[in-house]
Each structure stands twice: as C-alpha cells, then as structure tokens.
C-alpha cells in the first residue's frame, strides 16, 4: 500500500479493500435473484462498492470457472441476448461460508474500532 515515493496512499488502500472482497457482494446480489451484469453493476454502484465497472467481468468469469455461478442466455427486447447469472449449489455453499466469515470479521473489526474510538 505504499507508493513508489514511499508515502502511504489511503485512496489506494480503500480501493484495495473494495476490490479484495468484491466477490462477496456479487455473490450476494446474484444469490438474491438471478441477475445480468449491468444490473449487478447498478446495485454495486448504489451500494458504493464498485471501483471500476471493468473489474466485474473478470470476476464473473472467474466465478463461472470455479463453478460458483452459472448463466443462461436470455433474449432482450432492446439489443443482444443477455447473460443472466445465478448461483450454483457450490456457490450457495460458498456464499454461506463467506457470510459467516464476514460476520466474524465484522465483529472483530468493529470491536477494534470501538476500542480505538474510545
């Protein structure tokens, strides 16, 4: 997290933090309801979780390859057919595990934050 000139780049830390766990919110969105990429992006933007849109596509591809998600093609009235992503059984399991891990992490970090803010 240190730039070439040796200073600590806070913005970069923040973006790294978001990128690092983007997988989890994406799984959450897809898990809620089968969604296509632009809608995933929209929700991520609303949640203020996305750094740049481009990151999503390699991520989706990777998750597809690890068989966490799958997609079906769906005809669109305006334009080309869309990929509608949904969770596989493995994806659901992974999401559950990540959720637990996240809650744990959240508790620990919050504890530290509270301790710091005191």
């Amino acid at each position: 997290m240190t730039d070439s000139d040796g200073t600590y780049n806070v913005a970069k830390v923040e973006s790294q933090m978001r990128k690092g766990f983007l997988e989890f919110p994406v799984l959450l969105i897809i898990g809620t309801k089968p969604t296509y990429a632009p809608d995933i992006l929209k929700q991520l933007k609303q949640a203020n979780l996305l750094v740049v849109e481009g990151t999503l596509y390699p991520l989706l591809s990777r998750m597809k390859r690890s068989e966490l998600v799958t997609y079906v093609w769906e005809e669109s009235k305006s334009g080309p057919p869309r990929k509608i992503y949904s969770l596989t059984k493995a994806g659901e399991n992974a999401l559950e595990l990540i959720e637990t891990a996240w809650k744990k992490l959240d508790t620990s970090v919050n504890k530290l934050i509270k301790q710091y803010e005191k």
Binding site: V52, G54, Y57, L59, L60, G79
Partner: protein, 511 residues
C-alpha cells in the same frame, strides 16, 4: 469532418468516428493483453464489449448518430483502465500462481508456541497445531508425563526454551500450515546440518545474540513460574480461607441455635445449670449473642477474603467492611461487659464452672482477686491460668477486708482459707451485707471484729484451725447463720456453751 466506420459491438451496429474507433480498439487490445487467463479472455472481452455497446446505446448512439471519441473516453472512464482490471484480476493471477506453487512446495509448517491459546507458555497448543490434533490431548500427555520422574516438566521447559513464539501472521499460519511428510522432515534436517557447516562463522556471531535471547527467555520463564506459583498459592490460600471460614461459621451458628432455641440436651452436662442461669435473664442472652458475634465476624471476613482471593476481585466493599467492623466492635464491648457479669453470676449461683473434654479442661472459679480461669492442656500437662481481675466490672466498689485483700461489696462468698493471716479482720467486714459464706479457716486469726454481726445474710462461717480464744457477742445477731465451724481453736468449753446459747438451735456449731 471525420471518417465514420460501421462496426458491430456486442451484436449492435454503431457508426463510429475514426479516432474514436482507434481509442476503442486500443482499449480492447490493452484489456486482452492484461488478462492472461487463456480461454476466458474472449468471453471476458465479449462481455465487456456488450457492456460498452449498452452504454453507447443508452447515450442514444446508433448507426445514425456516430460514436465520438468523447463518448469512448467517457465509457472507458466508467469501465476503468485495464490496469485496474489487472489489479482485480491480480487476485486470481496470484491465486493461480500459488495454486501451482502449493502443489510443488507446500507452505512450510513450523513449530511455534501458540500465544493465542495459552495455559503456561503455549507449548502444548503449538505442538497440537503442528500435528493437527486437539491441544487438550497434548496437555494431558504433558501432565501424564509428570508422573514419570517429572519428564513432563523437563520436556515442557525444553520446548519453552527452544521453540519461538508465533508472532507474525505468517508464523501463525505456518503453525498449522499444511501437512508435513516424514520425508520432508528428514530433508529439512539434512539441509539444516549442511547449513550448520557453512554458517559456523555466522553462528558464532549469532551465538551471543541467541545467548541473550535465551537468557531473556529464562527470565521470562522465571517470571511466569512465579506468576503461576502465585496463582496456585492464591487458590490454595483462598480455598483454605473459604474452608476454615465456612466450617467455623457453621459451628458457631449451630452452637448459637442449639443454645438459644433447642433444648440443651446437646450441651455438656457440666455447664447445663450455668447455661440455664445465663439464659434466664435478657442480659445473659445479649451476652451470648454478643460473644457469638465477636467470634463469628472474623470468620465472615476470612470467608470473604478467601472468596476474593479465588475470584480475583474484592467481594467486601468499603461500606460493608465498615459496617462489619462497627458491629464487631460493639459486639466486643458488649461481650466483655456483659459476660463478666454473667460469669460472676454463674459462679455465685451455680459454683465453679468445669468444662472438660479429651484434650483440655477449663475451670472457672472465683478468687480473691476476681475471676480465675484455669485451662489445663491434658497432653502437655500444662496449666495456664488466666486471672480476670475484677476491674472488668468497674462500677462495683471494693472494700478491704484485711490488709491488702479487697472484695467487691456485693460478694456473696469470701474465701481466705490458708493465707497465713493473723490478728483480726478489718471492721469493714460489716459492709459485705450480701455475704452468705465466709471462710477464714487455717490461718492464725485471734479475733473477729464486732461488725461481723452486721452480716445479716451470712449462712456459713468457717473459723476452723485458727487461734481464736473467744468470739464477739454480736455473732448472736446473725439471723441466717446455719453453720459455724470452730474446730481447731482454743475456745474454752464455757465460752462454747455461751455461744451455743446465743445462736440458738438452728445453728450447727462444729467443734
């Protein structure tokens, strides 16, 4: 005026200006270069193209309204630079890389002490992580090994000194790392042996440092030993306090309950009459309760202290302790003042108190100076005497009956037997109006003062074995006299006859 090219992006047809096309093409190419994921690159790129196509059509661009370079720049800004993709994809790149590395060369597992799961120094938990078993098993083995000439302790100390603490996350991870095969261990040992040859010089230099750190570890070990000892001591002392306090309290409380509320069948026969006498007056009950409180409060404090030691927090609050102390002081004062009177009463009405059991004997009696308590330890044949002077009952005036011998005015029994006294008692003897028994036997008295006749309550007068030749007439005034012992004196038969006549037939005169 610009050249326009017709292209399809994501299945849609767009008219795009030449420079915009160049930028877009460059952008796609860069993405393709940054992504190194084999087969999936095409899919990702086509997904991205579809997304771009949707963005452009959202902006109203089509085959009729051309896409400008400005449009492309805005789209690229939204999509992000390929370098950002790489960072996000980098996670994958790294993991892909480490996957292959893992297969070849798994993360080296190392033995560390686990300070996150500590009983003494984290040795057992570290070993447990290394072999991927439950720490409890290792701990049980260590404790079990204690019984084989203390091997457990020695092994533990060696591990403590030799095994470093896992401080960094990597070290902590390496604790449980991945499975280590026997082959790997032997290889590592071989490698270490080779390293030792090469690094002899460096080792020598590092020796001082390791010596220092070893010393440090020894000191911290000693410190922890002391800490452990202290906590053991804390438990032992706390527990014995608890035990002593609760037993003593249970004993005292049951004694009190028995004395106050239960028939005194459980009380030793020898003190039953005394107990009944004490319980007959409200002051006596107060005396018993105050003695009980004086005795029980220190044990309450002991109990609470034990509890505080074990629970590591002070159970007794300041207000509570002040209250306890105040109650104790009041009880103590009450106990001293009231029980002196009670004991005196018992001695007067019931007689000497004798408490006896297998080990010791307590005898409480009155003496010239006040209350005398004899405690005899039967084992040691020791006899310690506690003389309670009558100062404990300060309000009662004392009167000198013979030079140097004083008694409280309300005394009912005065015993001056075998004191080697001579001459006469003082005239003040007449002031002991409550006196029922006067024993001055076995002395060298020759006279009695006339005031002896004022002792209207006197029942027993023992004058035996003195040098009396005669007695005052006033003896005839002793209305309640029952026994007059005159043995061993020089009183003539004639005088005796007169005395008998004066006293009447109710009085037994012993000659």
């Amino acid at each position: 005026m610009k050249t326009v090219i017709n292209i399809t992006i994501g299945g849609l047809v767009f008219a795009i200006e030449q420079d915009a096309y160049d930028s877009l093409e460059k952008y796609i190419k860069e993405i393709k270069q940054t992504l190194v994921e084999g087969d999936d690159v095409n899919e990702i790129v086509s997904d991205i193209e579809t997304a771009i196509a949707e963005k452009l059509s959202e902006r109203g661009r089509s085959e009729r309204i051309a896409v400008t370079e400005d449009d492309i720049n805005k789209v690229i800004l939204e999509m992000g630079a390929p370098i950002d993709f790489k960072e996000a994809g980098g996670v994958e790149g790294e993991s892909a890389q480490s996957e292959t590395e893992d297969k070849k060369d798994e993360i080296k597992k190392r033995l560390y002490r686990d300070t996150d799961d500590v009983v003494i120094a984290g040795v057992a938990s570290g070993i447990a992580k290394y072999f991927d078993i439950d720490p409890a098993i290792v701990r049980i083995i260590f404790v079990a090994a204690l019984f084989f000439n203390g091997i457990g302790i020695i092994a533990y100390l060696i591990f403590w000194l030799a095994v470093p603490v896992a401080k960094t996350t990597t070290e902590k991870y390496a604790m449980s790392g991945d499975k280590v095969t026997l082959k790997e261990i032997t290889e590592r040992v071989k490698k270490n042996i080779n390293d030792i040859d090469k690094e002899d010089l460096e080792k020598a230099r590092g020796l001082w440092n390791s010596l220092l750190s070893g010393l440090k570890r020894i000191f911290s070990l000693i410190g922890i030993c002391i800490k452990v000892l202290f906590s053991i001591l804390r438990y032992v002392v706390g527990f014995s306090f608890l035990l002593a306090g609760s037993f003593a309290m249970a004993g005292l409380v049951s004694a009190l309950v028995i004395i106050l509320f239960v028939d005194n069948a459980s009380i030793p026969q020898s003190i039953q009459p005394a107990m009944q006498l004490v319980l007959s007056s409200p002051l006596g009950v107060i005396s018993i309760v105050s003695v009980f409180l004086t005795a029980v409060i220190p044990f309450v404090v002991l109990l609470l202290a034990g509890g505080s030691l074990i629970s590591k927090r002070i159970i007794l609050s300041v207000t509570k302790s002040i209250t306890l102390a105040a109650v104790w002081i009041v009880a103590l004062v009450l106990a001293i003042t009231t029980s002196a009177v009670q004991i005196d009463r018992v001695l007067e009405k019931v007689g000497p108190i004798n408490v006896e059991d297998n080990d010791f004997m307590i005898n409480i009696n009155r003496s010239e100076e006040g209350i005398k308590i004899d405690v005899t330890d039967k084992d040691r044949k020791q006899n310690s005497k506690i003389e309670v002077s009558e100062d404990v009952a300060p309000n009662l005036p004392k009167i000198e009956i013979y030079s140097g011998l004083s008694f409280t005015q309300n005394s009912t029994v005065i015993n001056l037997a075998r004191k080697g006294l001579e001459g006469s008692l003082k005239a003040e003897v007449g002031q002991f109006v409550a006196l029922t028994e006067l024993d001055i036997s076995n002395n060298n008295f020759t006279d009695l003062p006339a005031e002896i006749g004022q002792l209207s309550q006197l029942q027993v007068l023992n004058l035996s074995n003195n040098n009396f030749t005669g007695l005052p007439h006033e003896l005839g005034n002793l209305e309640n006299l029952q026994v007059l012992d005159l043995r061993g004196n020089n009183i003539s038969k004639f005088d005796l006859q007169i005395i008998r006549e004066k006293l009447g037939e109710e009085v037994t005169v012993v000659e």
